[in-house]
């Protein structure tokens, strides 16, 4: 009964990693660490690694916080909350290339974002075309997609918290903030851990918006690792270097996810 899924997991996850690991040691001069030496001395790869880390350090906690805020808001007695939930959830139904295409128009020189800024009397911004704003613009785009999705999981977690706990806490004369801090957060630890980890796994390999909108630019400002590997393999035909970078990406994913589990466990 398990065999098909195990076979799928082995073929689709473990085997390609093994393959990439094997090929990452290969080069014109036989098996060696040359590919790893090369990528770790390449400023472009190191920059791409840095951009990926910065992106993830910002985007994951940000999305978690906003999703939690929305989940708390929409489990309160707000009129029409099911409708608001459905609308906020809607962006995830949109395939990422579609979202990228739309946000490209929104961020365009004469797009809706600059239109709104003009309305507020603010100067037009470069967004995706500005070296300093491009990564931030990608974060806005990715969060617009992801936040509603993660919100749904946190709403489910919030609804599982027994109301008796809140009643007891209220009886003790606690403030709203104290109830959130000492009842909601501890009870929500597992859903929060799940969302943070799943969100990170998704954001570590963010690719479509970069490939469609910025091609990693301007000046490599949005050259996230997944795009960098894709470029290495297909534009530069440096397959073995791409394999070495793939191994680094898998390692980075495992390290970050393990750290996140640790951090969330440490409170227990």
């Amino acid at each position: 009964m398990l065999a098909p899924v195990l076979a799928a997991l082995v073929v689709l996850r473990l085997y390609p990693i093994a393959l990439a690991l094997k090929d990452s040691f290969e080069g014109p001069h036989g098996a060696s660490l040359a590919n790893y030496r090369f990528i770790f001395s390449s400023s472009q790869f190191l920059h791409s690694l840095l951009v990926t880390l910065i992106f993830n350090v910002i985007v994951n906690p940000f999305q978690l916080a906003v999703a939690l805020g929305l989940a708390v808001l929409l489990t309160r007695r707000v009129p029409g909350r099911n409708l608001w939930r459905a609308l906020i959830f809607a962006p995830v139904a949109m395939p990422m290339p579609v979202s990228a295409v739309i946000w490209n128009e929104i961020f365009a020189q004469n797009g809706a974002a600059n239109g709104l800024l003009k309305l507020l009397g603010l100067p037009a911004q470069g967004f995706l075309t500005s070296q300093h704003q491009a990564l931030g613009s990608i974060i806005i785009l990715a969060s617009w997609i992801g936040v509603g999705y993660w919100m749904i999981f946190l709403i489910a977690g919030l609804q599982d918290i027994p109301t008796a706990l809140y009643d007891a806490a209220a009886m003790d004369g606690t403030s709203v903030w104290q109830r959130f801090r000492y009842v909601t957060l501890p009870m929500l630890r597992r859903p929060l851990a799940f969302v943070l980890v799943a969100d990170t796994v998704a954001n570590l390999v963010l690719f479509a918006p970069v490939q469609i909108l910025t091609s990693g630019g301007p000046l490599n400002a949005t050259n996230l690792l997944m795009y960098s590997i894709y470029q290495e393999a297909f534009t530069d035909s440096a397959v073995n270097l791409a394999d070495a970078e793939t191994i680094i990406l898998v390692l980075v994913s495992l390290i970050i996810v393990t750290l996140e589990f640790r951090i969330l466990r440490s409170g227990e």
Partner: protein
């Protein structure tokens, strides 16, 4: 009850003020979430989309209501190569949901109910597989698929969607909550495992199965990098890739692009809206469950 009536009125007023401001925040968030949909829906129906885009004025009513209606963007798309891509996407996603659910249900049953050596280890493997993003390994894997003759085929697109550790995880969590007395009773009745899955577990797990199916569907529908890597034949192209091409084309057909975007989004959107109440509800337990 209260001797001081004014205090009650005061706190009631404060409470309704809180309720109003919370509602305002909720409405603003929802508006932010759907504003891009409104913009492209308007753009997709506009006869002269390029003219509108050259000066997008959010104050103008025509930012959200087309000046002159035209369904041409849709009809051209459905008849053209995008229509083929959309059909491919539907076939691939549907096959992924059906086959993926069967595989995941059996695996989850084995991991939740059957007792065998290394069960925890196998479950750990499933979880780890879920923590390694598929896209991260898709470039080395695409070479293998090419060698196996699976590139440029719909089967080659379906297969990666099947190894979904999340769907297995989700179903296993739900199956663990099904009382073991039911399993024992079924055993006494001489039911085989497959029979037990069919007539005990599946009927009891409708919400979890719908959630897992939605996870499989949305996961496959969103897939972009894998089809980009393995499909070069336009007759096997899927909708997200076809859409990405609208942007990279030299002269972008905005109306067609927006119509294609609406079409690609409408299908999962309808499914998600119909099935939303099952989603999430079964996904994770809280502390102590």
């Amino acid at each position: 009850m209260s001797a001081d009536g004014s205090l009650v009125v005061g706190s009631r007023r404060k409470r309704s003020l809180v309720a109003v401001s919370l509602t305002v925040v909720a409405v603003l968030c929802a508006a932010y979430a759907i504003a891009p949909f409104v913009l492209i829906l308007a753009g997709s129906l506009e006869r002269n989309t390029t003219a509108i885009l050259s000066s997008w004025d959010p104050l103008s009513i025509h930012a959200i209501i087309p000046k002159s209606l035209s369904g041409a963007g849709y009809s051209e798309n459905v008849r053209g190569s995008f229509g083929t891509a959309l059909r491919n996407s539907i076939v691939v996603a549907a096959a992924t949901v059906v086959i993926g659910l069967v595989l995941a249900i059996f695996a989850a049953f084995a991991l939740a109910v059957l007792k065998f050596r290394f069960r925890e280890l196998v479950f750990g493997l499933v979880v780890v597989s879920f923590l390694i993003p598929f896209d991260a390994v898709s470039i080395p894997l695409s070479g293998t698929f090419r060698e196996w003759g699976l590139s440029n085929s719909l089967i080659g697109l379906v297969i990666p969607g099947l190894g979904n550790g999340f769907a297995v995880f989700l179903l296993r969590q739900f199956f663990l909550g099904i009382p073991s007395e039911l399993v024992d009773a079924a055993r006494v009745d001489g039911m085989s495992n497959a029979r037990m899955v069919w007539s005990v577990f599946i009927p009891l797990s409708k919400p979890a199965i719908i959630s897992a199916g939605l996870v499989l569907f949305v996961g496959q529908w969103q897939e972009y990098l894998w089809p980009l890597l393995t499909v070069s034949d336009t007759s096997k192209e899927v909708a997200p890739v076809a859409l990405g091409e609208f942007v990279t084309q030299f002269a972008t057909d905005y109306r067609g692009m927006f119509a294609a975007a609406i079409l690609t989004t409408a299908i999962p959107m309808v499914l998600v809206l119909l099935l939303q109440r099952y989603f999430g509800q079964t996904v994770i337990g809280t502390e102590g469950k």
